[in-house]
Amino acid sequence: MGEVIVVTSGKGGVGKTTTAANIGTGLAAQGKRVVLMDTDIGLRNLDVVMGLENRIVYDIVDIAQGHCKLKQGMIKDKRFPELYLIPAAQTKDKTAVTEEQVRAICNELKQEADYIIVDCPAGIEQGFKNAIAGADRAIVVTNPEVSAVRDADRIIGLLEAHGLGNPQLVLNRVRPNMVRQGDMMSVDDILEILAIKLLGVIPDDDSIVISTNRGEPTVLDQQSRAGQAYRNIVKRILGEEVPLMNLEVEEGFFARLMKLFKGN
């Protein structure tokens, strides 16, 4: 029996889809059978982040309304044999599926897959309720910014009200230099405010932009620090104890000297 994990945030643009894509791909790279499900109907994006946008025939609304079989609506990934994507519909709105339909799809997927990773839309309306309907547990993504943390707090409350207590946090886009200078809230600051368990910390990393351009999840890039952070998260989901990585980039003596002169 598989597990359904919903990736949510409240605020848009904090890295939900990127996180869902990387966790799903990372789990598949570990040999797990994974289905990624995009519930952001009308604003689908998980397909482009995964580089699978040209393979879409059916979508989640087709599956929910019985226009195709579940298997037909699952797009096979090009990298891993046991990784699938169920894309959101692009031309419908968030009321095109119901909570019961999403729950039924999740329950059916759980029979075959090890993990079902659900990418949740921004907001707290019907789309959010649909996304969490079939979930066994939740991951909350946020950034070290006042607005994103505030929305994360609201989402944590709503998850609890819907029976998804104890969600885990992914803190995305951390800039160690700014944290060191006291201009960005640290991991500890945010854990103190949100009182939530930490799943992982992702450094702000150019490689995310580049890998998204290519449609290749960063988790597969062995050189990328964000990729390493996502690989650690995947191991933690699989029950391994992995210490938080040091986010500081090693700087040579000369680079540090230059910085001193530049005055930052």
């Binding site: 609201r154 409350g157 006291g182 201009d183 001193l260 930052n264």
Partner: protein, 89 residues
């Protein structure tokens, strides 16, 4: 470096501390907010419990959340007509 010295001697607060303080305050308000439906539930429960001990005009029972000195207060105003003498004893 310059900004570091400025902070050391000028007493200027780190912007992240500012962010943290503002967040904590705004979350106190956010977390204390109740939906109208929940308020109505609370109102009904209050009426049920309090009417075991006293008679009062149910329509005049007023429940609201208020902010006072950075604290969230639950204010309940009940005009009591009479107390039931032997209730709960």
């Amino acid at each position: 470096m310059a900004s570091f010295l400025q902070r050391l001697f000028g007493g200027e607060k780190n912007s992240k501390d500012l962010a943290k303080d503002r967040l904590k305050l705004v979350l106190i308000h956010d977390r204390a907010s109740m939906s109208p439906a929940m308020m109505e539930h609370l109102r009904r429960d209050l009426i049920e419990v309090i009417s075991r001990y006293m008679d009062f005009d149910e329509a005049a029972l007023d429940v609201q959340m208020a902010e006072q000195d950075n604290m969230t207060m639950l204010e309940v105003n009940i005009p009591v007509s009479s107390v039931k003498r032997n209730a709960g004893v």
